[in-house]
């Protein structure tokens, strides 16, 4: 219920307050989506760590669903970032945007997570290996960020500036609402997908019991 309310807030507030030009408005989508994607990966890694440490029953599935959502949001980050780049600088992609490059690396990493997960037969081995890989992901985030920052010195001269806008108070409020909306959306999707997967699993158990 919170989700439609939050989304309505975005679409009602944003046209009222943002006055930098229409293309800047995508910022209200792009950055919250990016932050939500990071949050999903972090949550997935947390569940993975819990799975390895205490082995609660559903932790592996929760980790998988969180990372699935993270990849979806990550893809959206790349798409919205690309659209923003096109609108602001006239190019679809720029290597000088550290956030976009970092997301590309992470997107590849977590896409490989799915390749890994679906090439191992279901069972405790798959759960363990997926969990270890998810933990590698969160460790990779800061190391990659450092690497990409250092790489700028020799990759290309920085032609475009990827900067965060200086925000007026009203824009900051819109940004916060947008961020809250994205996080709520992610949480709702997470709950939805998790419930669906759990129903799938219990259905499978029932089917096997009937045979």
């Amino acid at each position: 219920m919170l989700v439609p309310v939050a989304l309505a807030l975005i679409f009602l507030w944003v046209p009222e307050d943002a006055d930098q030009g229409f293309s800047q408005k995508i910022f209200y989508f792009h950055v919250p989506i990016a932050i939500t994607a990071y949050a999903c990966f972090g949550w997935g890694a947390l569940k993975a760590f819990l799975h390895l440490w205490k082995r609660p029953a559903g932790a592996d599935l929760e980790s998988y669903v969180a990372i699935h959502l993270g990849v979806i949001f990550g893809a959206l980050t790349l798409v919205t970032g690309s659209i923003w780049a096109r609108a602001s600088w006239g190019v679809w992609w720029t290597w000088s945007s550290q956030q976009l490059v970092l997301f590309l690396v992470l997107f590849l990493f977590y896409s490989a997570y799915f390749m890994l997960r679906f090439s191992i037969d279901p069972g405790p081995a798959r759960a363990n290996i997926s969990a270890v890989y998810a933990l590698f992901g969160v460790v990779l985030i800061p190391v990659s960020f450092l690497a990409i920052r250092l790489a700028e010195d020799f990759i290309h001269p920085v032609v475009f500036n990827s900067n965060g806008p200086q925000m007026a108070a009203s824009m900051f409020f819109t940004f916060c609402v947008s961020l809250a909306a994205m996080v709520v959306l992610a949480a709702a999707l997470y709950r939805l997908e998790l419930a669906g997967k759990r129903i799938d699993a219990s259905l499978r158990v029932l089917r096997e019991a009937l045979e």
């Binding site: 390895l52 992470l106 590849l108 490989a112 390749m115 890994l116 090439s119 363990n128 890989y133 250092l150």
Partner: protein
């Protein structure tokens, strides 16, 4: 000290097997030289000589992948991984021994690759060698764990490059930076940080990769 005895025994086993079979290291040597030849044709006349250093690192990463794909091949094909896990040693000793063996193979391949690069393209300086040394540690440490993951899957050889390349991005950045940039010390620092962090988490998590 029995931990290090276990590591030494397992590493010796891998090195002896390679010495007798002689399949992985010659393949890596030939691959890296062939790759360097291809890169000569891949670099147009006007491209900077610095581009060659980038391609050196590409060649090294893919040669390492070639070796890593075969890391757990014997254990997987003959079902030996279960036997190793049942042995009364710390599971991380298996990882460390395999990583050290892989490091030996990679260093052997580089002993040929770096002079070949120096002859085909431009010279190798001390920073590049230091970068290669640090990068080798990172590649072997992470690659061995990922090879164990790939060995447990159905996709095997297909999976390892997919898993490894995103994790190899900081290594490539560190290595190329050390070769190319004037005072490349901070790139060596990046490589050292990468090695330290990933060595610790690989050491800690290998147990969970091979057991249930």
């Amino acid at each position: 000290m029995s931990y290090f005895t276990d590591v030494a025994t397992l590493a010796r086993k891998d090195l002896l097997l390679e010495l007798r079979a002689r399949d992985t290291v010659p393949a890596m040597l030939l691959f890296v030289v062939a790759a360097l030849v291809v890169f000569h044709f891949a670099l147009p006349e006007a491209s900077a000589s610095l581009a060659a250093y980038g391609l050196l690192w590409v060649a090294l990463i893919f040669t390492a992948i070639l070796g890593l794909v075969r890391a757990f091949a014997a254990e997987r094909d003959q079902g030996l991984l279960d036997a190793l896990v049942l042995a009364p040693c710390d599971r991380s000793a298996i990882w460390l021994a395999k990583a050290l063996a892989m490091l030996a193979f990679l260093v052997l391949a580089e002993l040929v690759a770096l002079p070949a690069f120096a002859i085909f393209f431009s010279g190798i300086d001390g920073m590049t060698i230091a970068g290669v040394a640090l990068a080798d540690l990172g590649i072997c440490v992470v690659g061995t764990l990922l090879a164990a993951m790939a060995a447990a899957s159905r996709a095997r050889e297909l999976l390892l490059p997919l898993l490894f390349l995103p994790l190899a991005v900081p290594i490539v950045v560190g290595g190329v930076g050390a070769s190319v940039v004037e005072n490349g010390g901070r790139y060596l620092g990046l490589l050292a940080v990468y090695d330290a962090i990933f060595a610790i988490i690989c050491w800690a998590s290998f147990e969970y990769v091979v057991t249930e």
